[in-house]
């Protein structure tokens, strides 16, 4: 009886573990196998025509990149600043507990709520309209918890002796942080930034109501853009072109796999070093 339970349990555990890996392989494999044939130089370097039935996705690639590259430096500066404060400037107190709770709660807020929020605050109240600016600010807020969490963890894992040596050499607190702590925590902090970049590229619900879904190239910060994820969603849901939907999805997945692989490599280098 016990023997049987043992076998059954062990089998279930192995099946679940292998199953999760197969699930990823199946999802990525399916998108790539059906999407890569749709990719061509022309597809990647031209603008869509007839709502995306024909033509390419260059404006969406540009829009996706611009949004992420505007959002992440902003959340990066705020997030790393917050992490430095939490790790270097305070002991555990009521304030740090509240900051942590707020950060955790923010991490749990669904992206559709960020979309609604960005719509009222940036699009309507501040009058930025559906634009690069509104979308980027919304994404910056959304990715902030990811950056705070990873940066704080990396800063904390820098050994205390580094700081003591720096102080012993006569350096001040900020000098020590800037010249000693941050460089040692660098790869860990970069991991968080890459993860935030990946989330920005993958996001749909928060950007569709803040950045809009224009098919044109943006000329200023106040122009709307359509990201690859939004374009893919519209192509697939409205059945405009399955071939082009697969092509867009393949590009999206490739981009995300690259960004996240860089994040993982950085993380492993960081772990090996500390």
């Amino acid at each position: 009886m016990n023997r049987l339970k043992d076998r059954l349990g062990t089998t279930l555990v192995w099946l679940s573990g292998i199953g999760v890996m197969l699930l990823l392989a199946a999802i990525v494999g399916m998108v790539l196998v059906r999407g890569i044939p749709a990719l061509s130089v022309e597809f990647l370097t031209s603008a869509p025509e007839k709502m995306g039935r024909e033509g390419g996705i260059l404006p969406m690639i540009v829009g996706t990149m611009l949004l992420a590259l505007l959002a992440v430096p902003l959340s990066g500066i705020l997030g790393v600043g917050a992490a430095i404060y939490l790790a270097e400037y305070t002991v555990e107190s009521r304030l740090t507990r509240i900051v942590r709770l707020a950060t955790e709660s923010l991490a749990g807020v669904p992206s559709i709520i960020f979309g609604l929020f960005g719509f009222v605050l940036f699009v309507m109240t501040l009058g930025f309209g559906w634009s690069l600016l509104s979308g980027a600010l919304t994404l910056a807020f959304m990715t902030l918890p990811t950056i705070i969490r990873t940066a704080e963890e990396s800063i904390r894992s820098v050994p205390g002796i580094y700081r003591e040596v720096s102080y012993a050499l006569g350096a001040g607190k900020w000098q020590t942080i800037r010249r000693v702590v941050l460089p040692s925590a660098g790869p860990g902090i970069l991991t968080g930034i890459m993860l935030a970049l990946g989330r920005s590229v993958a996001e749909t619900a928060a950007v569709i109501f803040t950045a809009g879904s224009s098919l044109k190239y943006p000329r200023t910060l106040f122009d709307p853009v359509r990201t690859m994820a939004v374009h893919f969603y519209i192509l697939a849901r409205e059945g405009i072109s399955m071939e082009r939907a697969y092509g867009t999805a393949a590009m999206l997945i490739i981009l995300i796999l690259i960004v996240n692989s860089v994040a993982l490599l950085l993380m492993q280098r960081f772990r090996a070093k500390v």
């Binding site: 339970k5 600043g81 917050a82 559709i112 609604l116 619900a205 697939a236």
Partner: protein
């Protein structure tokens, strides 16, 4: 002087997450409370008719819809995720464990629209063919959501299991327990609060997911009659109509946002009090 100014700047950065959370709550409430008042809190929550053109806003079917797909996602995703965490920490040889860890992180990175799309082209047709109904259903949504919450459930359960002192397992093995017995009788029970936190956070993710659900749920505006019936959730209800809603109708969508936000903040609070001390 210089040092003090820097400290002040960093304090501001640290307070930003509190400020942002407060702004979100403030703006969602400010924008949504009008429609809730107009309808009456009770009628808004338990009213079963949603007819924006007549200014009738009852969101009961969508609340039930959200709960149905979330429970379904947990039934499928939670056991799978917990077993996978056990696999990663106790059973997998190091090389395979590494590969599986990478897979879990990549699963977390895949855009939700891609999950929805796979659901649309694989899961929905399979259900329609073999189980009947339109295919767009509670079941399709639950299957897609179960996959999407796996990374959350796995990584937080794994943290909880790995935070246990190794003497727990060693003690069990020394008493003659097999690996599975050690897992079932010692490891899982001792890590239960962390695992519970993992499941609750997974629940929050399922409840909040939008784009993937829209693509596979069918979005019918009635209380679902079974697992194969189409369903509309709070999140998809908001996203489907935000594009064109104005006036009181738009406010009602923000009212749904209030309900969603309160549910999820509540779940987060529960998870963080249940799992206190587990994450660090």
């Amino acid at each position: 002087m210089h040092e003090r100014r820097i400290e002040r700047l960093l304090t501001c950065a640290a307070l930003s997450s509190i400020a942002i959370l407060a702004l979100i709550i403030l703006f969602i409430f400010k924008e949504g409370i009008g429609a809730v008042r107009h309808t009456g809190v009770l009628n808004f929550l338990v009213g079963s008719r949603w007819s924006p053109s007549r200014e009738v806003f009852g969101i009961f079917p969508m609340i039930v819809g959200s709960l149905w797909v979330t429970v379904g996602a947990l039934l499928l995703g939670a056991p799978l995720g917990i077993l996978c965490a056990v696999f990663l920490s106790e059973f997998a040889p190091p090389k395979i464990a590494n590969l599986a860890r990478v897979s879990v992180q990549m699963l977390a990175a895949i855009p939700s629209v891609v999950y929805g799309f796979i659901g649309l082209v694989v899961v929905v047709p399979l259900i329609r063919e073999y189980l009947g109904g339109p295919g767009f259903s509670v079941m399709a949504s639950s299957i897609v959501l179960a996959t999407m919450i796996l990374p959350t459930v796995i990584s937080i359960s794994l943290d909880a299991i790995e935070a246990l002192p190794s003497s727990y397992k060693e003690g069990a093995i020394a008493l003659g327990a097999t690996k599975w017995q050690a897992v079932a009788m010692v490891i899982l029970p001792s890590a239960r609060s962390g695992i519970l936190a993992a499941v609750i956070l997974g629940m929050g993710r399922a409840l909040g997911e939008t784009m993937a659900v829209i693509m596979v749920a069918g979005n019918a505006l009635s209380v679902p009659t079974g697992a194969l019936a189409p369903v509309r959730t709070l999140t998809s209800g908001i996203a489907l109509e935000m594009g064109y809603a104005t006036g009181l109708h738009r406010q009602a969508l923000f009212g749904m946002g209030i309900v969603l936000l309160l549910l999820i903040l509540g779940l987060n609070l529960i998870a963080s009090s249940v799992g206190r001390g587990v994450r660090r």
